[in-house]
C-alpha cells in the first residue's frame, strides 16, 4: 500500500526538487515567511540605503514586540475559529489602571490589579462565547464598548489622582541595552517560547486546534468545549494586559484608548503569519514574523516620507502582495 515506490522511480529530477521545496514550504510555513521578511529587508536597503544598523533593528523589534503579544491573542482565539476584538480596549485598560494606581498602591499591586481586570474582561468574554454561545466577534466587540465606557468613567474619577508609569515598566517596555537590544525581548522571548510550546506540546494547545477544527468532534471525544473557550479568553485577556503594559512602557503615558488602533493590525499580523481565521490551522511562530513584517513596513513607509495618502495605499498593497506570495508559495499544486 505504498506509493513511495512511485515517487522514487518515475518522476524526473527537476520536478522532484520543485516538489521538495514546495513540501518544505508547506510543512514549515515559517520558512517562506522568513524569506519574505528577508526580501523586505533587501527592498529596504535598496530604497533607503544605509539605514540598516543595529539601532534600526532594535527599534523595529521593540515596536514589533507589543504588536506580537497583541497578535498572540488573535492567534490563540483564531485557532478556535474566534477572534478577540476587545484586546485594544483591554490592553489600554491594563495600561491606564496600572498607571493610575501606581501613585497610591505602588507598582506591584498596580500591575496585579491591572492584569486581574484584564483577566476579568477575558472571563466575561469566555463566558459569553463559551457558555452563552455569543459569536466571538460580537461578544468581544461589545466587550470593547463596555470596557471603553467603564474606563472613561474611571478616567473621570481618577483625573486628579495622578498617574505614573513605574521605571521598571518603562525600562522593560521601552529601554534598550547597548543602544540596540530592546529590553522587552527579556519578557517576550520566554513568553513566545511558552506560547509555542503550549500550542504544540500541551493538551490545552491541542484542544484549541481541535475546537477550531471541529467543535462537534471535540465534544464527541469528551472535550467540554466551554471550559476550553473560557480558559482561552482569560488567557487572551491577560496577554492583552501584558501587551498594554509593554505599550505604556514605550509611551510612558497611559490613556484609555492607548492601544485601540492596533487591533486590526494584530489581526493582520496573525493572518499574514498563516493562522486561519476559520480555526484549526496556524501557529505562533508565523505570527511573530508577521508582526515583524508589519513593523518593518510601517517603518519603511515612515522613512520614505511619502504623503499620507500614498503611504496608506502602499501599506495595503504590500500587505496584500506579501499574503498573496505566501499563499502561492505554500499552497498545493
Amino acid at each position: 500500500m505504498s506509493v513511495v515506490e512511485g515517487t522514487t522511480s518515475s518522476p524526473p529530477p527537476a520536478w522532484r526538487t520543485a516538489d521538495a521545496w514546495q513540501r518544505l514550504f508547506r510543512e514549515r510555513p515559517i520558512v517562506p515567511l522568513l524569506v519574505l521578511l528577508g526580501a523586505l529587508v533587501v527592498l529596504y536597503q535598496v530604497v533607503q540605503p544605509g539605514t540598516i544598523s543595529p539601532n534600526w533593528v532594535g527599534s523595529i523589534i521593540r515596536n514589533a514586540v507589543p504588536l506580537a503579544i497583541l497578535a498572540a491573542c488573535q492567534t490563540l482565539t483564531m485557532l478556535t475559529g474566534g477572534i478577540d476584538l476587545s484586546v485594544g480596549a483591554v490592553a489600554s485598560m491594563a495600561a491606564y489602571v496600572m498607571a493610575t494606581l501606581v501613585p497610591s498602591q505602588g507598582p506591584v499591586i498596580a500591575i496585579v490589579v491591572a492584569l486581574a481586570a484584564c483577566g476579568l474582561a477575558g472571563l466575561a468574554n469566555g463566558i459569553g462565547v463559551g457558555i452563552f454561545r455569543v459569536h466571538p466577534l460580537i461578544m468581544t466587540l461589545a466587550m470593547s464598548l463596555v470596557v471603553l465606557g467603564l474606563m472613561t468613567v474611571y478616567q473621570l474619577i481618577m483625573v486628579a489622582a495622578g498617574s505614573r508609569v513605574p521605571p521598571e515598566i518603562r525600562t522593560l517596555g521601552g529601554g534598550t541595552s547597548f543602544g540596540f537590544v530592546p529590553h522587552n525581548l527579556l519578557l517576550f522571548v520566554p513568553l513566545a517560547v511558552g506560547i509555542m510550546w503550549a500550542l504544540r506540546r500541551t493538551g490545552f494547545g491541542r484542544l484549541l486546534y481541535a475546537v477550531g477544527d471541529n467543535e462537534r468532534a471535540a465534544r464527541l471525544s469528551g472535550v467540554r468545549v466551554w471550559q476550553v473557550l473560557v480558559a482561552l479568553y482569560v488567557v487572551s485577556g491577560l496577554l492583552a494586559g501584558v501587551a498594554g503594559l509593554v505599550y505604556v512602557g514605550i509611551t510612558n503615558v497611559a490613556t484609555v484608548t492607548l492601544v485601540d488602533k492596533y487591533v486590526l493590525t494584530a489581526v493582520a499580523a496573525a493572518v499574514i503569519g498563516g493562522t486561519s481565521i476559520f480555526g484549526g490551522r496556524g501557529g505562533y511562530a508565523g505570527t511573530i514574523v508577521g508582526a515583524i513584517i508589519l513593523s518593518l513596513l510601517t517603518n519603511l513607509l515612515t522613512v520614505l516620507q511619502m504623503p499620507e495618502a500614498a503611504r496608506q495605499v502602499v501599506f495595503g498593497a504590500i500587505i496584500l502582495a506579501v499574503a498573496a506570495a505566501y499563499t502561492r508559495i505554500t499552497s498545493e499544486a
Binding site: 476584538l85 459569553g128 452563552f132 454561545r133 455569543v134 459569536h135 466577534l137 460580537i138 461578544m139 466587540l141 461589545a142 466587550m143 470593547s144 464598548l145 463596555v146 471603553l148 465606557g149 467603564l150 472613561t152 468613567v153 473621570l156 486590526l264 489581526v267 493582520a268 493572518v271 499574514i272 486561519s276 481565521i277 476559520f278 499620507e308 495618502a309 500614498a310 503611504r311 496608506q312 495605499v313 502602499v314 501599506f315 495595503g316 498593497a317 500587505i319 496584500l320 499574503a323 498573496a324 499563499t327 502561492r328 499552497s331
Partner: protein
C-alpha cells in the same frame, strides 16, 4: 417509505404558515423588538413622533447600506473589512465631482459613483479569487488602499452635493409617517436584490457561502459568484457613500465606523458569519434597532459613558437571547 421526510407535498395552509414563521423567526423577533422599542421611545419621550421616525430613518441610511453590503458578502462566505473605506472613497469621489456643478450633473455623478463602487467591489473580489488569500486579509489590506485613495481625492473634508440628493432622504412619502429615507433604502436594496435573490446567481451566493465544495460540485461557478458578491458589496457601499453625501452635503476622506458597525448589524440581523444563512431585511431592522438604542439612551439622559457600556451589553443580550431561542427550537 422512509419516515423522516414523508410529509405530504401539499401541506395544509397552517403548516405552510408555521414553516414560514419558523424560518423567519429571527426576523419576526427583530420586528417585534423594534416595535417594542418604538413604543418605549414614545413613553420615554412623549413628543417622539413623525419627526423622530424620520430622523431615525435618515440616521440609519448609511449604516443600513453598509450592513446590506456586508451581508451580501458574508452570505457568500466572505467578509469585507473595506466597506467603511469604500464608503469614504465613493463619498469623496461623489463630493468632488459634484463640487460647484449643476444639479443635472449630480445625476451623472451619482451614476459614476455607483459604477466606481462596483469597480472597487470587483477589484476586491477578483483579488480574493486570484490570490486565494483569505477574504479577511485581502479586504483588510484593501481597506488601507481605498482609505488612502480617498485621501488622494480630498485631503480634508470638502466638496459638495447636489441639492436634490440632499433633499432625497428628507421628509416623508405621501404622509410624514413614511420617511423617504426608509423608502429610498428599501427601493435601492430591493431593486438590486429582489430580481437576483430567486435567480440562479442569487442562489449561487447562498450556495457558495453554505458549502463551497458542494457548490463547486453542483456546477456553480465559484469564482464568478464570489466576484459577484463583492461587486454587489461595492455597489451598496457606494450607495452608502452617497447616503453620507446626502446627509452631510460634503465628502469626508476618513472612514467612519461603518465596517465594524456593519458586521455587528448583520450578526444581529440574523446573518451567519459562517456564510449561507440570513437575509437583508433582518440587517436593515437590526440597524434601526441599534440606532434606536442610542436615541433612547440620549433621551434618557444616561451618562454617555455608561451609555456606551449599555450599548455593548444590549448587543450581547440580543445575540444571547437569539441563541437561547435557537437552542430551544432545535428539534428535540
Amino acid at each position: 417509505m422512509s419516515v423522516a421526510t414523508a410529509t405530504s407535498d401539499r401541506a395544509p395552509i397552517s403548516a405552510t404558515v408555521l414553516r414560514v414563521l419558523r424560518r423567519n423567526a429571527w426576523l419576526l423577533g427583530l420586528v417585534v423588538l423594534l416595535a417594542a422599542m418604538l413604543l418605549l421611545t414614545r413613553i420615554i419621550q412623549p413628543t417622539y413622533g413623525a419627526a423622530g421616525i424620520d430622523s431615525l430613518a435618515r440616521a440609519a441610511l448609511p449604516i443600513a447600506f453598509a450592513a446590506v453590503a456586508q451581508a451580501v458578502v458574508v452570505i457568500a462566505g466572505g467578509i469585507d473589512l473595506s466597506v467603511g473605506s469604500m464608503m469614504a472613497l465613493t463619498n469623496v469621489a461623489a463630493a468632488s465631482m459634484m463640487h460647484r456643478q449643476g444639479e443635472e450633473f449630480g445625476v451623472v455623478a451619482v451614476v459614476l459613483t455607483l459604477i466606481l463602487g462596483i469597480a472597487l467591489g470587483i477589484t476586491n473580489g477578483v483579488l480574493v479569487v486570484v490570490t486565494r488569500v483569505p477574504d479577511i486579509v485581502v479586504t483588510l489590506a484593501l481597506s488601507f488602499v481605498w482609505a488612502g485613495a480617498a485621501l488622494l481625492v480630498l485631503n480634508t473634508p470638502g466638496g459638495g452635493a447636489a441639492q436634490w440628493l440632499k433633499d432625497l432622504p428628507v421628509g416623508g412619502v405621501f404622509t410624514e409617517w413614511v420617511p423617504s429615507a426608509m423608502v429610498l433604502l428599501l427601493v435601492c436594496v430591493g431593486a438590486v436584490w429582489l430580481p437576483l435573490r430567486r435567480r440562479r446567481s442569487g442562489l449561487a451566493l447562498y450556495a457558495v457561502g453554505s458549502d463551497r465544495l458542494a457548490a463547486f460540485r453542483s456546477g456553480v461557478p465559484i469564482a464568478r459568484t464570489k466576484v459577484l458578491s463583492y461587486a454587489l458589496c461595492g455597489l451598496f457601499s457606494a450607495m452608502g457613500g452617497l447616503a453620507l453625501s446626502a446627509a452631510t452635503g460634503i465628502g469626508t476622506p476618513t472612514p467612519g465606523p461603518y465596517t465594524l458597525l456593519s458586521v455587528a448589524a448583520i450578526v444581529l440581523g440574523g446573518v451567519s458569519l459562517a456564510g449561507g444563512r440570513g437575509g437583508l431585511l433582518g440587517c436593515i431592522i437590526a440597524v434601526l434597532i441599534l440606532r434606536l438604542v442610542r436615541t433612547d439612551l440620549t433621551f434618557l439622559g444616561v451618562d454617555p459613558n455608561y451609555a456606551t457600556v449599555i450599548e455593548g451589553l444590549i448587543m450581547v443580550a440580543v445575540v444571547m437571547v437569539g441563541a437561547v431561542v435557537a437552542l430551544r427550537r432545535k428539534p428535540a
